[in-house]
Amino acid sequence: MSLFNISKQLLRSVLIIFFFVLAGSTVAWGAVGCDLNDPDRDVVRLFPESTGYKTIYTSIQKKGGEKLLVTVEKRLGENFKGIYETIDVPYTIYEIFSNKKKIGYIHGVNQKGQFGGIQVFLALDLKGTIKGFYIQKMTSQYAAKLRDAKFGKQFVGLTIKDFDHYDVISGKPSGPLETIKNPAPEAEADFRSALRATKKNLILMDEFVYSTQSVLSSGEAPKR
């Protein structure tokens, strides 16, 4: 057998193994979470002054169980929907640092949209005010309009208080939310989904972080 044949056979074996591992690989069998696709890039984009970040994983189950779920649902004004919005959904909180100082958080949630899952991320300062709004994923013919920075800018400066009276069932904005314009009236369902996701995101962050600041890390900032 020539050297060429041996290496060809070896290459074939490696390829076959690679295929098999890919095809047969299993993934974690938990509820699906919401992470930034490329945290190194996305964190800088959402927090240009950041120099590093830490990642914290939590869930309603971990932080307060059934009692917390009831609280979150009550504040949201609607029970968690469907089989994908559950107590064990893992949430990823990015703690953002500028040098050694913590300057804010980034947190994303999944939300059911008209044609697929929507992932809404919020960049929040230490008081819970929205500094940035980012729809990471949305399947819609009008997704580009809703993902546009102009739409996101309308959320900057809002806090959980501004969403307190937002009725996620009727989807009718009130108070400061009335100024938020839907750039794609044809995609009203997805617009409402984005608002619901924002309210859910803020409530979760309030329950996970702002009401229990000490639980989260306050140590030295990690290096990027």
């Binding site: 890919l22 047969g24 993934v27 696709n37 490329d38 399947t139 997704a143």
Partner: protein, 397 residues
């Protein structure tokens, strides 16, 4: 009347620590041996199950076409090659073929996935033939398409979870802007099907303007059929490549066999050490009871009786050690499983260490046999003790 067994048992019990240590030595060897044999069987069973879960043993693609969705994604949705579905007629007529299913893989660019967009992949399938080669696919909710030309999708469990879809929801194919109704969500399978969106083959062919083309053919062989013969014939077809899952299995088994040989060597060394331990324990016990054996002989014990008595001790040690080893192996099989999984580069799903009654009996028989062989020399030595020398205390020095 006291039996030989009782005498042998009491003799061993006189030196508890030594006997217990010998039993532990044998038990450890038995544990390693049974775990290894259990792994040998379990790994192959699990691998076979994983391969069966893929539904087909052979896949035919146009030359250069990615094998499956993951590779397609890695290639950015490009590189698909197509073959005409008429090729299926030639394959179906082969005697080795049990079932066959056509697949059309397609990918579209979704600009609204992340910052720079992403790829969404779709599998066009014929429900009847696809379900036949993958009978393990079960619906969590809903069912297959109502029509072969319907604008409907069946989603793998994780695809549905990610897209937050339930039966009755709509889904949009980006780029093409085609809407589909979700008619079924599959249960989790642990395979790539979990992340797949299935569309009726004809519908997908129409959307991508490839009315008679497919990318993959999955072939399920008849039971006991040799895939290599069929592979040789299929290689005669123009411009196709064949991936044999039997080949995949063989390659993995070859890689694993190296690890198995190493563990088997360790098991053999452990057994040899245990054998030496048994010989040492029994021989020491014989020397310690040199005078006692001499007295037994003077009161009428024949060499055969002494031989059997000493052999009985070996038998007791080995049986106890073997039983303890089996119990250890049964209790720790899960731990062994986890440890093996950490060491091996690829481990299939399911139990890697399978211990059944047959394996237990084979191991017990093997341990007792090896023990008895180890006991021959000390027993023979004891049987040959001369009573007079023993009473004088000469031979044991």
């Amino acid at each position: 009347m006291i039996t030989k067994f009782q005498v042998a048992y009491k003799n061993l019990w006189r030196k508890k620590v030594r006997s217990i240590l010998t039993v532990i030595g044998i038990a450890l060897s038995a544990w390693v041996l049974i775990s290894l044999l259990g792994f040998n069987r379990g790994y192959e069973n699990s691998l076979n199950k994983d391969i069966d879960n893929m539904g087909f043993q052979l896949m035919i693609m146009a030359k250069g076409c990615p094998y499956e969705a993951a590779t397609l994604m890695l290639k950015g949705g490009t590189g698909l090659r197509y073959m005409d579905e008429s090729i299926m007629k030639k394959i179906t007529s082969e005697p080795e073929v049990d079932k066959i299913t056509p697949i059309l893989m397609s990918a579209v660019f979704d600009p609204n996935k992340g910052e720079s967009g992403g790829i969404a992949a779709y599998f066009g399938v014929e429900p009847a033939s696809f379900a036949a080669v993958k009978p393990f696919l079960k619906f969590k909710t809903g069912k297959w398409f109502t029509d072969l030309n319907a604008y409907e999708v069946v989603m793998g469990f994780e695809a549905a979870e990610l897209e937050q879809r339930e039966v009755g929801d709509m889904i949009l194919m980006p780029d093409k802007n085609v809407q589909f109704k979700v008619v079924g969500i599959l249960e989790r399978t642990g395979t790539q099907d979990d992340g797949t969106i299935f569309v009726p083959l004809k519908t997908l062919q129409k959307i991508f303007n490839r009315p008679t083309e497919i990318t993959t053919i999955g072939i399920k062989l008849k039971k006991g059929m040799d895939s290599t013969r069929l592979e040789d014939k299929l290689y005669q077809l123009p411009d196709v490549q064949i991936v044999s899952l039997e080949q995949v299995k063989q390659t993995i088994m070859k890689l694993i066999s190296t690890a198995k040989i190493m563990v088997l060597s360790i098991a053999i060394i452990a057994i040899l050490i245990a054998m030496v331990g048994v010989i040492n324990t029994i021989l020491t016990s014989v020397w310690e009871r040199f005078q006692e054996i001499g007295i037994l002989k003077t009161i009428g014990a024949m060499p055969r009786d002494i031989f059997l008595l000493i052999w009985m001790e070996t038998l007791i040690l080995c049986t106890m050690g073997g039983l303890l080893g089996v119990i250890l192996a049964l209790i720790l099989s899960r731990v062994t499983d986890i440890l093996i999984r950490r060491v091996l580069p690829y481990a299939p799903g399911g139990g890697l260490v399978v211990i059944d009654l047959k394996l237990v009996l084979v191991t017990m028989f093997g341990i007792i046999f090896i023990g008895l062989v180890s006991g021959i020399y000390p027993a023979w030595k004891a049987g040959r003790i001369r009573p007079l020398e023993a009473i004088r205390g000469e031979g044991g020095k």
